[in-house]
Amino acid sequence: MLAHGFGCDQHMWRLLVPLLEHDFTVVLFDHVGAGRSDLSAWSHERYSTLDGYTDDVLEICRELALGPVTFVGHSVSAMMGVLAAAREPEAFAGLVLLAPSPCFIDDPAVGYRGGFSAEDIDELLESLDANYLGWSGTMAPVIMGNPERPELGEELTNSFCRTDPDIARVFARVTFLSDNREDLAEVTVPTLVAQCSVDAIAPPEVGAFVRDRIPGSRLVTLNATGHCPQLAAPEETAAAITDFVEAVR
């Protein structure tokens, strides 16, 4: 099961899926509020913490009766995997945390470096607002209204990173203001932490921090740079996932 992070939707996995689907059954989904999800299902209360998203992940597992899955969570979704596996370990064969960060904001009191200050996050919200004009309310029905017509996907790639600004703002806050450092120790399923060699969003020591806190987890540093190894280096990312799944089988 591949879970996309903040910013875009399941198209983020586009280059990875062909490399995995030969060996695995791949489950893709859009988080509620992103991509072509049903926007009317989004509510401020449910989605202003990671718990709402975590509930959704577990619901998908139950609804599709998947049995134990390997959950690959990118960026903020890595923490949804952590929370979900802590709550229902029996639903997961393993976790792959791709470019994860349990806390983006520095915590100098305990010497933790997440890479950002609270002001930086405000600046991101401004950036979202500045590109807000690119969103138009009329686009929502086009994006959301045709889930049964995948042929529209081509035309929609242009809009796949555009989200309702109100929803994007709430998701940005959840993503960058959540602190899940304490939850890492609750994970009992086999876990692979895969970080990029240079990542403007998650500094290298964050990967090591996650590995140290999750009992028995393994850390690999991909040659890929940036925050999206599934786009920058799909082969390398797929190989890391495949090796991990084979090792825990």
């Binding site: 930086d120 600046e123 950036s127 979202l128 004009l133 920058a232």
Partner: protein, 431 residues
Amino acid sequence: MGESGDSESGDHRPPGRRPEKPSGRDPGADHAAFSALLEDSAEDLYEHAPCGYLSTLLDGTIAKINTTLLDWLGYDHGDLVGRRTFSDLLTVGGRLYHETHFGPLLRMQGEVSGIALELKATDGSRLPVLVTSTVKTGGDGQPLLIRTTVFDARDRRAYETELLRARQEAELEREELKRLNATLQQTLLPPTLVNVPGLDVAAHYHVASTDMVGGDFYDLFPLSAGTWGLFLGDVCGKGAAAAAVTSLARYTLRAAAVYDPDPAAVLGNLNTVLNHEYNGHDPRFCTVVFGLLTPEGGRGGFRITLASGGHPPALLLRADGSADHLHTPGGQLIGVLPDAHIATATVHLAAGDTLLLHTDGLTEARPDRARDADRYGDDALLDFARALAPTTASAAVAAIRDLLDTFGTGVDDDTAVIAINVPRPTSEEQP
């Protein structure tokens, strides 16, 4: 002669447009002069173009950058090329946006245009820019590098900030309007229904749009000698003007009922008031059903006399499980004619019987909006009531609420429902 003409036209005409050819002029010389101008400018245009250019490797490392952009930011060539990434030039917020939105979009589409970002200059100032990037691919389609143009967007951004501020202000005002509408709506309805001894009552008001006040109303109130007045109506139209009529109708009905509780007389009074008030210009009318509830000591239960002016028929859900319309045929719209005909009907409400009044928002709803389906209609509602009977006031209103929920956005008008029921004696109550 020919040469001086050439240089003059070269100064004043845009390059690339051939000057008109006067007699005696040498077209070959013209062409050579322009070619020289263009060849000379190829590198110069790149370096000193009125926009920033930069090329980056796929990992973001800056491979080439023009003088314009270096000057804007205060860097030297050697500071950046091969040493820094494009993302390093952005503010932190912009970098997050770049990583989470811009980069993935660029990979997906091969180009991204008109993204608003801010660059950091060496002196600490910030330069608002609009950025467009394209991916240059090799012959085999593999991406090689990213070409980016950067436009100074200070003025434009100021304008956009103004637009954004205006939009945010408009959103705040819309919220305020919603609050005002909700408040106004509440003042047109009783805050809670009064407790009528020997009756179970329930009501529901469904708001179709939070942008407009609807025109539906109802009330239940005591009259003299142990009797009770009940009304439910629908003013044509929406918004503040309709709300004013609703308010007038509501107070007129209550005052008229005190003066003479006969239901036909009450509606007659309302008709006269509306007809006088709004006659001539801006006619306003409504449909209303007014009921007088009289407890029947000996028999038990209530005698109910209903008068209707153009309103959809009430539904009577009997204790024996049957249900039917309580017709009041021929009643005319209230407020249109100086002498509207008002129809009345009288019915006995015994233990276990329920009377349900509703406005046409319910029957005019389109249950399946996606397929532009037919309206719900009186017959479907009657079938629904038959399936429901016997029932209680609160159960009937809850069932209608659920029904409205299943219609979703297919309910395009406000809907009011009120139900009254004579409870069965406790010993007879269903488990």
